[in-house]
């Protein structure tokens, strides 16, 4: 019990935040140089889930990737520090409720803690997307071909592809090049029910938590239009997206509350300063 109290007290120290932030700055400076020197080690973070990256690129190249592991450790410490500080302060605020005069003033005092909570929600959401998400790249399909959606029983079939080519004269270098696509996708759930959606560049399709994006496709020019078409699709599942937006919303709410609190404080202290100021 004493050890738990000591750990709680250590994690709740305000100066710990400062040390952790300074350590993060130093670590990220080192990371910047390693990232620049060995981009091929960190680029795969784009296509791999965090654990897959750690067990391959990360652990086999510790001389270059150590800073990333230190970064994750420091972020964990920052999350724990923020959580404990927030819990302590919020508990304190709840205890002193009776001493407060206005209900609004009392509620506004929670604003900074709401921002801390938002920070935690954002980080956990990001982590969720990188740890339990799905990132299936290079699903190269020709019309009629099917792909499994991460062994969930759901399947995706490319029904047909329609490409619109540039017709104008103003951009001669763009003549006969594809400017828009309409890919018809048919999703089949484990019960055999089919859902049809249309996919294009910058028009991703969403289906049962998955999102489908175009990475590449053919034909891209009219003179290749006679050849068999294909599309390279990226299938993603970001379980953290909802949490991420909720975190952003909470942060905006907290920031707004903090602004109102500051404005109200200034409005109150203004007349006093005038009253006591030089005539």
């Amino acid at each position: 019990m004493r050890a738990a109290k000591a750990i709680w007290s250590f994690l709740g120290r305000a100066d710990l935040t400062l040390y952790v932030l300074l350590a993060l700055v130093a670590d990220l400076c080192a990371g910047f140089f390693h990232f620049r020197a060995e981009p091929q080690l960190f680029g795969p973070l784009d296509r791999l889930m965090l654990w897959d990256w750690i067990t391959t690129y990360g652990r086999f190249h510790l001389a270059e990737t150590w800073w990333f592991f230190v970064f994750m450790g420091l972020m964990l410490l920052l999350v724990l520090n923020t959580s404990v500080c927030t819990i302590n302060r919020v508990a304190g605020l709840i205890r002193i409720r009776s001493g407060e005069t206005g209900r609004l003033d009392y509620l506004l005092r929670f604003s900074p803690h709401l921002m801390h909570l938002a920070f935690l929600v954002l980080l956990v959401s990001m982590l969720a997307s990188y740890v339990v998400g799905v990132n299936l790249r290079n699903n190269i399909l020709s019309p009629g071909r099917t792909v499994d959606l991460a062994q969930t029983g759901h399947r995706l079939r490319l029904e047909k592809m329609e490409v619109e080519y540039y017709q104008g004269r103003r951009l001669s270098f763009f003549e006969n090049r594809a400017i828009d696509q309409d890919l018809t996708l048919a999703f089949t759930d484990p019960r055999g029910r089919e859902t049809v959606r249309h996919l294009g560049i910058n028009k991703p399709v969403r289906y049962r938590g998955f999102s489908v994006h175009i990475k590449n496709y053919q034909p891209q020019t009219r003179n290749r239009a006679g050849r068999p078409g294909w599309a390279n699709l990226i299938v993603r599942k970001d379980p953290g997206v909802g949490g991420f937006f909720a975190g952003v919303g909470l942060f905006v709410l907290g920031l707004t509350g903090y602004l109102i609190q500051t404005l109200r404080k200034n409005a109150r202290s203004g007349p006093k300063e005038q009253a006591h100021g030089p005539a």
Partner: protein
């Protein structure tokens, strides 16, 4: 003292729980490509497009859950090769004899094993890469296709033929380019040959650099393709640009980054 012990225990736990590489385990990163050696002589590869393939020795069982086009039986005995570069790499690895089919105009092939093979009929010409003769390719029963063309992947998957994209999405630098032999080596059991080739090539490159470093004049040069409506050039970090710089040239698009 008690607190120190707790800190040491936490540290020990963290170190022990880290997935340290086991003895014999290896993970080689070559630009966008990677080669991971697994137990029992298996390899897990990432090709230029980021696709994963598993190389399984002929006398081992294929791990469950893999599609036929995701598994390559090694050493490969029958390969279809699209580019002269890959054919040359196979030649370096002593595996040019495994080439059973190529694309492009037969007269463009200068590698003796391929040119002679095309003449004798041992190597099949599959037509231009943009419209290969699929029936001919199927008759060849290739165990592997080495290509730059991702458009053939759907068809090859349907046929259960493993396909490797040997060109990355960004331009490979000179070191990566030379080291691509190490990426191809496990397919043919030629890892030692690949290492020797890389060491020899890097040594020659260093010799050339030592000589050209003293040059007074650096001729300006570009490397690219000129078309009717556009010019495509190699970026400054590409093997072509680095080769120009190594031999004493001043590459004009040194500040450009991107794909080949």
């Amino acid at each position: 003292m008690g607190r120190l012990k707790i800190h040491l225990l936490i540290l020990l736990f963290l170190v022990a729980s880290f997935p340290w590489p086991a003895r014999g385990e290896d993970f080689l990163v070559l630009g966008e490509f990677s080669v991971r050696s697994l137990d029992q002589g298996l390899y897990e590869l990432t090709d230029g497009l980021g696709r994963m393939l598993t190389l399984v020795p002929r006398d081992r069982e294929v791990p469950p859950g893999l599609a036929p086009d995701e598994v390559v039986r090694i050493p490969v005995e029958r390969a279809v090769v699209y580019s002269g570069r890959d054919a040359s790499f196979l030649d370096v690895l002593g595996a040019a004899g495994a080439i059973v089919g190529v694309t492009g105009h037969p007269e463009d092939w200068t590698l003796p094993q391929v040119a002679e093979g095309l003449a004798s009929g041992r190597v099949a010409g599959l037509g231009l890469s943009s419209s290969i003769d699929l029936e001919k390719l199927i008759r060849l029963k290739p165990e592997l296709v080495l290509t730059w063309d991702e458009s053939i992947i759907p068809k090859m998957s349907e046929l259960g033929i493993p396909t490797v994209i040997t060109y990355g999405e960004t331009a490979a630098d000179l070191e990566t380019y030379i080291n691509l032999t190490r990426f191809l080596a496990p397919f043919f059991g030629a890892q030692e040959r690949a290492l020797e080739f890389v060491e020899r090539s890097m040594a020659v490159l260093e010799e050339v650099r030592a000589v050209t470093k003293k040059a007074d004049r650096r001729p300006k040069a570009i490397w690219g393709d000129i078309y009717e409506k556009r010019v495509l050039v190699e970026p400054g970090h590409s093997w072509a640009a680095q080769l120009i710089k190594a031999v004493g040239g001043d590459y004009l698009f040194d500040d450009i980054a991107g794909s080949s």
